[in-house]
């Protein structure tokens, strides 16, 4: 592969950097992350050479995941659904006056996981593709259930509310035509609801609008002046080095993101939440999660970026897109006359290897951008809230409107904003609602497909080898959640006694 270094050229490298910067920009805009940003730049991508086009699109995809974490850390608004897990500890870090460190860890965690997943792609693509192929609907359903068990441990001291919120998200996701007979459910005669509540506007309402409503109740800035340490290049670099001290979270995020990315349809959100849950449940200090623990930021962020290399595995090796963004990439590849599948590795090996080299270089560029721009990004938290909040509301409205150009979606966004605000005020975790909302359609689809496969025999969920392994993981996750819940109750009781 070293002989390929001679084939590298500056133009393609510039395209990779441009892709990452564009991706970061769109990722940071609420509602424009993932496949939406890829769709926007398609007209530019298809006039490039095949290599430049793929480098550009994958650069946007990589940069987008990192960019989505920036508003999640700074103002508690995820750029896309997968960054909802980043909010859990990223925003508390900012509120604790560690925005600089959080942004540095975001960049380093994203880049390291990206590098790991690309190397994994190069080495393990054929093997992982075979493993991923053995995941049928029952296994995927159990994987979604595993993702849902995270809800219980999101807020152990408030487990009933977390579970209620998760079920609410799942219930909202069942509005629309059903996947079995295609009958409308709870659509109230509105054709706009036949596909369910539009996802991006719902997400923007739940997270962005509700967060803005919460923030506007406090005067001044996102973080109080007293708690803020002045950002500097040195602090950012220190934060980046510190990231490696959290190697366990980095490893969990990178591994789970790469593996889950290789499963068609599983996606970055489930990977981010599973990584968060695994890190929390195996941490010696799980009670510090949700209060600004760096592990809780690094693990989901690493998982989201490891998805890029992971989702390339089924896309390139099997011709099955591993995510919505991978589907867009596959469409472009086919438009350019490249046939994704096992043959691609024989016919276009040089192209794939070059693509990986540029993506690896892109990850280093991401670290450099993160180091240089952290203090610039940080200035967002210095904008007075009476200016910041309405400006974000307009940006979110554009994001919601861009989804399908329907004014109805703006109404959905405002409605969900009110719902999210009320839920936050009564201490229901919004991340549980979003998790339910994301996983609901997948859960129902795989559930129905599995039952159709087995002629409505529910034993299909317990008799297959991979489902049995997943059951063990689910039981482990539930048991740990219950233990955390008990510990949280004991701690609360001890605090009351001491008080």
């Amino acid at each position: 592969m070293l002989e390929l270094l001679g084939d590298l050229n500056f133009t393609t490298f510039t395209v990779a950097v441009a892709g990452i910067v564009v991706g970061m920009f769109f990722g940071a805009l609420p509602g424009f992350g993932g496949s939406a940003s890829l769709a926007i730049v398609l007209p530019i991508a298809i006039v490039m050479s095949p290599l430049n086009s793929m480098v550009f699109l994958l650069g946007i995809y990589t940069g987008g995941h990192y960019g989505g974490g920036i508003p999640a850390v700074l103002i508690g608004v995820p750029g896309d659904a997968s960054a909802a897990a980043t909010v859990l500890d990223g925003f508390p870090m900012t509120r604790n006056g560690q925005a600089s460190e959080a942004l540095a860890m975001l960049a380093m965690g994203s880049a390291v996981a990206g590098i790991f997943s690309i190397i994994a792609f190069l080495i393990f693509a054929p093997i992982l593709a075979r493993v991923a192929l053995s995941f049928g609907p029952p296994e995927l359903f159990m994987l979604v259930v595993l993702g849902l068990t995270i809800i219980g441990s999101i807020e152990p001291s408030n487990m009933f509310k977390a579970l209620f919120a998760g079920a609410l998200g799942l219930a909202i996701a069942t509005v629309g035509v059903d996947p079995y007979w295609g009958r409308p459910r709870m659509t109230m005669g509105l054709p706009q609801l036949y596909d369910g509540f539009p996802f991006i506007p719902s997400l923007l309402g739940l997270f962005c609008i509700s967060q803005m409503l919460v923030l506007i109740d406090q005067k001044g800035l996102v973080t109080s002046d007293k708690s803020v340490a002045k950002p500097s290049f040195a602090r950012t670099l220190r934060g980046m080095v510190d990231c490696f001290r959290h190697w366990r979270a980095l490893a969990i995020g990178s591994l789970s993101g790469t593996f889950i990315g290789a499963l068609p349809g599983a996606g970055a959100t489930i990977a981010a939440f599973i990584a968060y849950n695994l890190t929390k449940n195996t941490s010696p200090v799980p009670e510090t999660f949700g209060k600004g623990n760096p592990d809780g930021l690094i693990a989901p962020e690493a998982a989201q970026n490891a998805i890029v290399g992971g989702s390339m595995i089924p896309t390139f090796a099997l011709g099955i897109p591993g995510s919505g963004a991978a589907a867009v990439l596959m469409g472009v590849m086919m438009y350019m006359g490249l046939r994704p599948g096992p043959q691609l590795f024989l016919e276009q090996l040089t192209l794939i290897q070059l693509l990986c080299i540029y993506l690896l270089l892109g990850c280093f560029v991401m670290i450099a951008i993160g180091a240089v721009a952290a203090s610039t990004f940080y200035r967002v938290t210095r904008i007075p809230l009476p200016i910041l909040v309405p400006s974000v509301v307009v940006a979110a409205s554009i994001g919601a409107f861009s989804y399908r150009g329907e004014i109805f979606d703006l109404g959905v966004m405002v409605g969900f904003g009110l719902l999210g605000f009320l839920l936050q005020k009564r201490r229901y975790p919004l991340s549980a609602v979003v998790l339910g909302l994301v996983l609901g359609p997948m859960a129902e689809q795989y559930f129905i497909q599995s039952l159709q496969m087995s002629n409505w025999d529910f034993m299909i969920f317990v008799t297959r080898p991979i489902t049995m392994v997943l059951w063990v993981l689910i039981i482990f996750s539930v048991v740990v959640s219950v233990l955390l819940y008990r510990k949280a109750r004991r701690d609360a009781a001890a605090t009351r006694t001491a008080g």
Binding site: D178, V393, R496
Partner: protein
Amino acid sequence: MAVLREALIPLVLLISAGTYWWMTRALPSASTVFPYVIMGFMTVMGVAIIVKEFLTSGSDRKDDPLVTWRAPALLVLSAGFVAMFVQIGFVPAALIFLCTSYIVLGTKPLLAVIVAASLTGAYYLLFAVLIGMNL
């Protein structure tokens, strides 16, 4: 009173779930098995939340988070922005919404007008002119 406040969200959402059941009860079971399982679980959790609140003594309760007039005002302004978007289009709607919100939330009028006009222009330039969105 605290119990009532805590019970309000589960009750309203469980009534919505009941409405869902009422509107879908005639559908074949394959269409409704999944949502009914979820709503059954939601009901159990909703009841658990209310019961837990009944059993919680006054001193154990956390204080209600502060809600000022600002959040309801922003919500009304946002709803107004959506209504204006339909009637008069993005640029005038965004300009009026931003200007009004800034002033209502305590920004000086001159600064509010300048920032609102600049930001509306920047949004339009970026999304409508550069990206080609039909705003």
